[in-house]
């Protein structure tokens, strides 16, 4: 990577250019600029302001744990196997963070992964996954189920 004169003279003259991000739990994390550039929300700010990269960029909606997961996912070029180790909460946290950070590739990847996970799951599993309260009466639900009984066959175990 080419460096400008100003950056050469900086005290922290790293091999790979990094940007410091400040997570919601107050952790300062140095992240490679190639990864940061996937985060449109940070990228647009850096590009417009030509900011001093040593000043932490605040991410009040992303925890250090979620940012760790995101960095690993991007480094591993969105590896399915790595993502399969995520808990349900971690999947949702990465989804929400990808949307907030405006990371289009990650958002598409994680939304597709969650869709694949839910595709053959029961209605009860979905309610539990998204923490949704069933507001149908038993009669109403039975009525909807009756109209399309075939869609309740061949499901995964919860």
């Amino acid at each position: 990577m080419q460096k400008t004169e100003g950056e050469e003279s900086k005290a922290e003259n790293e091999e790979v250019k990094q940007v410091t991000l400040m997570t919601s739990d107050g952790v300062k994390m140095k992240v490679e600029i190639s990864i940061v550039y996937e985060m449109e929300i940070v990228r647009s700010f850096i590009e417009v302001n030509d900011a001093d990269h040593s000043v932490p960029f605040p991410l009040p909606n992303v925890s250090s744990h979620t940012l760790d997961l995101i960095i690993e996912l991007v480094k591993n070029e969105y590896d399915d196997e790595f993502m399969k180790t995520f808990s349900h909460d971690e999947l949702k946290e990465v989804l929400v963070a990808a949307n907030y950070l405006n990371m289009k590739t990650l958002l598409d990847f994680i939304a597709t992964a969650i869709a694949n996970l839910l595709e053959k799951k029961s209605v009860e599993f979905i309610r539990n996954f998204f923490n949704i309260v069933n507001d149908f009466t038993p009669e109403e639900e039975a009525e909807i189920r009756k109209t399309n009984e075939w869609v309740f066959q061949d499901l995964d175990e919860d």
Binding site: H88, A111, L118, E119
Partner: protein, 132 residues
């Protein structure tokens, strides 16, 4: 402020499935599901039923599905059947190569030509007539 955030984090880690996913992100997930799953998820709750039944949602779902598949239809007069092949399907997917039912054409058509195709419909010319 920092203390508040730390508290929230401990709370969300300890309790499971409490993270709220905004509706626009739930829509992003639903758009990627097949119709069979969507019909089942109609009875998750009232807001999902109205969302999935919404015409704008159906249209977006259709548009997405239509742009994601690329199938090749191949006609060969000497072949016993006409197949449609999906190049983006995984190897183990049985629907990657499907036999097309062309019973509506005259028996033993020997001069079928593809005149055009759009969104899964194929326009055929056979025996000086057009077929969809």
């Amino acid at each position: 402020m920092q203390i508040k955030c730390l508290k929230m984090k401990t709370y969300s880690r300890r309790t499971k499935n409490t993270l709220h996913v905004p509706e626009d992100l739930i829509i992003q997930i639903l758009l990627r599901l097949p119709v069979k799953s969507l019909v089942r998820f109609n009875c998750v709750c009232k807001s999902w039923l109205s969302l999935i039944s919404d015409s704008h949602f159906s249209l977006s779902h259709f548009e997405r599905a239509a742009t994601c598949t690329e199938r090749l239809v191949f006609f060969e007069p000497s072949a016993p059947e006409v197949r449609s092949i999906d190049f983006n399907a995984p190897l183990y997917d049985d629907s990657a190569s499907a036999v097309l039912n062309l019973n509506f054409l005259p028996p033993k058509p020997n001069d079928v030509r593809i005149r055009g195709s759009s969104r899964g419909f194929v326009l055929l010319e056979c025996c000086q007539r057009l077929w969809m």
